[in-house]
Subunit: 198 residues, 2 copies
């Protein structure tokens, strides 16, 4: 894109390198930013660098937070003996929104994926095992139901079960409101296997 | 979203305010930014503020550029007597990519839209009329074929034609590769009206 000036080209290139932003969106965003008031652009730039500089891992559950201990781990009414293992902070947030979970979390920051060279040592599994050495009743594996998520769940299960801790996996099945006709066979057979008495 | 820390929430909110970025994308982007190396985040922030600070209007065609005169107006081999009127710099770029146009441009930065309170005085129409006082043979109206674009084209045509300048409008019709079956009636009837002898 040598049609734009140097500054615009640079901005379009930087934006297009972000995930989910294609070349057309990057152009639209770039022109939006250029048309925004100067102070708003500066505020956005500041918020970005500040978030990057100040956000770190919770020393207990490894979620991204800006204090030593995240708000969830800091709450006295959460059950610290129940740990839900998730792949990332967005998954944690998704479960928090349900307002149904009373325990705490452990954020792995990824899943085992030999295809792209991510091994057990690259995600926060060692840290989970260390936490499990304390007083823990149950570890709920809530990694994604993708190949990587399943592999990670299996791997963790094999490490934690011998420690005498109950290890559970969230159910797979037909999503609520889902139409059977459009659901893949693997999900359907999982839903069958996981059937519960009514 | 009070699930995240203050810095993350602020970043998500800022990103979600950008066009075409919903709440989910904003979260994905925010975590991507936080996981990026510090120097890359700082570079993106710098490129944003620099683009905003340095980009201005070309003094001739009003496209966004970083010098007094844009590269297109500065080129000696472009026909300065032919002006294509477009709504914004992205539309200019779209036409430049065709490599078929030898004239220069005039960027309006919008279109007349009484619905959202944009009148002729809010876009660069006065500047176009001033340019037409010079040596101009033809003004090609390449505003969008939306209601606003058509209104703007009509308005400009009425101003410029009496100055003895040829005013043309780019053709509407079936897009190349388009399947007639899926094209709306207005486009189809425009395509019929604009038919050319083979």
């Amino acid at each position: 894109m040598e049609l734009y000036s140097g500054y615009i080209n640079k901005l379009v290139d930087e934006l297009a390198a972000l995930p989910g932003i294609g070349s057309k969106s990057a152009q639209r965003l770039a022109f939006h930013l250029i048309n925004m008031p100067q102070d708003k652009v500066e505020r956005l730039a500041k918020v970005m660098t500040e978030a990057k500089a100040n956000v770190r891992y919770c020393s207990q559950c490894y979620t991204l937070t800006d204090s030593d201990i995240c708000p969830i781990c800091a709450k006295s009414n959460r059950n610290k003996r129940m740990i839900m293992v998730v792949e990332n902070t967005r998954d944690l947030a998704a479960y928090e929104k349900t307002q149904k979970y009373e325990g705490v979390y452990h954020v792995l920051h990824g899943a085992i994926s030999p295809m792209i060279g991510i091994g057990p040592g690259d995600i926060k599994i060692k840290e989970l095992v260390e936490r499990c050495a304390g007083d823990v009743d149950e570890v709920i594996l809530a990694t994604n139901s993708s190949l990587e998520g399943e592999t990670t769940a299996m791997y963790i299960s094999k490490l934690i079960k011998p420690m005498g801790i109950k290890v559970t996996r969230i159910a797979s099945g037909v999503p609520v409101g889902g139409d059977l006709e459009y659901i893949d066979e693997v999900t359907l057979s999982r839903a069958l296997d996981g059937r519960l008495e009514m």
